[in-house]
């Protein structure tokens, strides 16, 4: 795990290329503090900041083949490198190192750019083939590892994080209004768009192949579901058979993710998914497992009782970091600098504290349960959509709507909600059952409430833009033929997962402290297998992740195996008000600062801040708006050149 940066073309001559690479790599040093390296030749520069995990002695990068005409700089892991290495050796390849990096080079020599299809891993890399004058960027299927690029003066620059690109003379950080509109709808910009104008994200499962004359960005894999009408395309075996294969696949996905020359730990949230992974590791590794978790003051968010139960059941060596509400406020500016996108929730902040805990305990690698809710349909939004569709089929039925009470039992704000208001909220848009975004319309509508704060200039610039139409236009051609649950899963897995979960809440906050997360549930073999599992086995009635529980329940204590999903959340606006409110909040949200940045209407923000400070209860929309506005301001002030000086630097946590 590491950071990469570099260019293809001829950089402007402001500084020697070597120095430019050093500066780019320096900006993302947190990703790889152990070593660094560069490779410069006419027309190409590659840089690398290394976090040494596999083949510590000879795995340095950038790495070249024997003739020196294929060079790679690589961030991530190819988990099946052991098997690939064996196959390549059988074909006559001679390896000089034990690294997975060399497997990329040899695979490329064997297969060309298609080599990515052979990789099972979390990767982002740049590869230069001097003989063919071919430059290539590639990113893993699910979007675990980040990769950004920008063009300036005919030169292509790339890096693991946008902040490295801002080291390039002429590449400036300017927030993109369309990206803001998308963020205030979906929680993230739609790739390849990023929060910054002119900075692109290479979408997951894509590769770019560039020559001096031609550039092509193409997918090499796609998340796919069978047509709902095509029952033959589903896995029609018995539930027991499916569960058995699921278990075998998940076990193997976990096994290859334990490959490391440094010790591997695990996150333990207390929920089903991380408990399954920790229990699997426990079965495979004789050594006592090291686990980590975060705890909260408020019972609304805290899961420490369940964490303790798993620690007892597995006998792990466990450490927890308490995350106080005020800590979130204090860490937030650092989190935003790492995330490089506006956030509508504070949930990445406690994970930032958690990765620091892992690093302070001298661990570099953790396994987590990330991805299970997408792949096996654990999120409440899937149950909500199922119920809404069920009600839409019989709109006059009173008793069907009573089922809405079963949703969100953990949200205090919804307790005591009357039935007719539940119907009004969840029932809104019920006529839109053929809208491809049906499952997500209530969430998008609540989130979009934050757009009420946009300034007049923003509205003018966005005139006629509709983020929902934009998303609809970019769905796969056969999307409308999929089962409604598959459609909802696609929206979560292809968009929210890379756009927010794996980035702002994943790679960025983990790598901020040089910690690599590994996610067995996102092994593409498991993802492909799960896409063919009949929807009725994923959510049975209202039991989410049914087939996963059937497959894995026996390795968990019953109280964990049967636990209803409690989504990971953290205190939002309370982190920024009250006696412990961080100093920067008043400055960032002052009418002058809001007007200077230009994205929001100062008077509207002032009303929200007053409301927030009054201590009265804030609903979803206002919480998201408050966090979204503050994070946009912080992002603007962290990166935009003209304003970096006029607000005092925030206090590092």
């Amino acid at each position: 795990m590491c950071g990469i940066a570099g260019y293809f073309g001829t950089p402007s001559m402001h500084q020697p290329p070597e120095l430019l690479l050093r500066r780019m790599i320096g900006a993302i040093r947190h990703r790889g503090p152990d070593e660094s390296g560069t490779h410069v030749e006419p027309g190409v520069g590659l840089g690398h900041a290394r976090l040494s995990i596999i083949d510590i002695d000879t795995g340095q990068q950038p790495m070249a083949n024997d003739d020196g005409d294929v060079v790679v700089t690589f961030n991530g892991e190819i988990f099946n490198f052991v098997e690939l290495r064996r196959e390549l050796m059988a074909r006559g390849h001679v390896f000089r190192t034990e690294s997975d990096t060399e497997v990329i080079i040899r695979s490329y020599e064997e297969m060309g750019p298609d080599c990515v299809t052979a990789f099972n891993g979390d990767f982002a890399f740049a590869l230069w083939d001097r003989r063919r004058r071919r430059f290539m960027l590639a990113r893993d299927r699910m979007g675990v590892r980040p990769l950004f690029y920008a063009w300036r003066g005919g030169c292509l620059y790339f890096a693991s994080e946008a902040k490295a690109l801002f080291e390039v003379p002429g590449i400036d950080a300017e927030l993109d209004p369309v990206a803001l509109d998308q963020t205030f709808t979906f929680w993230f910009p739609l790739a390849p768009r990023t929060a910054f104008k002119g900075i692109c994200s290479l979408p997951p499962a894509h590769r770019m192949v560039a020559s001096p004359h031609e550039v092509a960005v193409r997918p090499y894999w796609r998340l796919d579901y069978p047509d709902a009408a095509d029952t033959g395309a589903l896995d029609n075996r018995s539930e027991a058979d499916i569960a058995e294969e699921l278990r075998a696949l998940l076990t193997d996905a976990t096994r290859i993710r334990l490959r490391s020359d440094v010790p591997v730990g695990a996150y333990l949230s207390g929920g089903l998914d991380s408990s399954i992974i920790a229990a699997l590791v426990r079965q495979m590794e004789p050594k006592r497992l090291r686990t980590f978790s975060v705890t909260f003051e408020s019972g609304e968010f805290d899961e420490s009782a369940f964490q303790s139960e798993m620690v007892r059941a597995l006998g792990t060596d466990h450490t927890a970091v308490p995350c106080r509400t005020a800590d979130i406020g204090r860490m937030f500016p650092d989190v935003i600098r790492h995330a490089e996108q506006p956030l509508l929730r504070t949930a990445p902040a406690p994970l930032f504290a958690l990765s620091r805990l892992v690093r302070d305990n001298a661990f570099k690698v953790v396994l987590t349960g990330e991805g299970a809710d997408e792949v096996f349909a654990g999120y409440d939004i899937f149950k909500e959509a199922k119920l809404r569709r069920f009600c839409a089929a019989q709109p006059k039925s009173q008793w069907r709507q009573l089922l809405f009470q079963r949703l969100y039992p953990y949200l205090p704000a919804l307790k005591g909600q009357s039935q007719s208001y539940r119907n009004a909220f969840f029932g809104a848009g019920l006529e839109a059952t053929d809208d491809p975004l049906f499952s997500h319309l209530p969430r998008f509508r609540t989130t979009a409430g934050g757009k009420a704060f946009f300034s007049a200039e923003m509205r003018e610039e966005l005139h006629g833009y509709d983020a929902l139409d934009d998303l609809r236009a970019h769905l796969p051609a056969d999307f409308h033929r999929w089962h409604p649950l598959s459609q909802g899963q696609y929206l979560e897995t292809a968009h929210l997962l890379p756009g927010y979960i794996l980035s702002a809440q994943g790679d960025r906050v983990a790598m901020a402290h040089s910690v690599e997360g590994r996610f067995p549930f996102l092994d593409h073999r498991l993802v492909e297998f799960a896409s063919r599992i009949p929807p009725r086995l994923k959510i049975r009635g209202l039991r989410e992740k049914h087939i996963l529980r059937e497959a894995m329940g026996d390795i968990l204590p019953p109280s964990i195996g049967d636990r209803v999903k409690q989504p990971y959340r953290a205190p939002d606006s309370p982190a920024f008000v009250g006696p412990e409110a961080p100093d920067y909040v008043s400055g960032q949200l002052s009418p002058a600062a809001i007007a200077n940045a230009g994205f929001f209407a100062p008077r509207s923000v002032e009303k929200l801040v007053t409301k927030c400070r009054s201590g009265s209860f804030l609903g979803f929309r206002d919480n998201m708006a408050m966090v979204g506005i503050l994070s946009t301001q912080l992002l603007h002030h962290s990166f935009a050149k003209d304003v970096a000086a006029d607000i005092p630097a925030t206090v590092a946590a």
């Binding site: 909600q417 909220f425 609903g619």
Partner: protein, 91 residues
């Protein structure tokens, strides 16, 4: 308390707490707060808390329905009726 006075206070509360975009100011008394996107599933609790504390009434769970609370006109009528009810009880 006159209905016009109730309306003034209800409007002021809604203006300060739910209406952030300038162009939404001066909401029609018959406009749906839900349809206008001004109140979400949690925002309704803010409204109820305000009515109970500011008008010294009790809002029964069964009364938290859109028919009573989804327009300014409905809220005014509801508050007036609740105040009338408690006044007659007091008498």
């Amino acid at each position: 308390m006159l209905n016009s006075e109730i309306e003034t206070r209800v409007r002021a509360f809604i203006d300060e707490n739910f209406i952030f975009a300038e162009e939404d100011a001066g909401l029609d008394g018959a406009a749906s707060l839900l349809d206008a996107g001004l109140v979400d599933s949690t925002g309704i609790l803010e409204l109820v808390t305000f009515l109970e504390s500011d008008f010294a009434i009790q809002v029964a769970d069964a009364d938290i329905v859109p028919e009573n609370l989804d327009t300014i006109d409905a809220i005014v009528a509801y508050v007036a009726s609740r105040r009338g009810a408690s006044a007659s009880v007091a008498a």
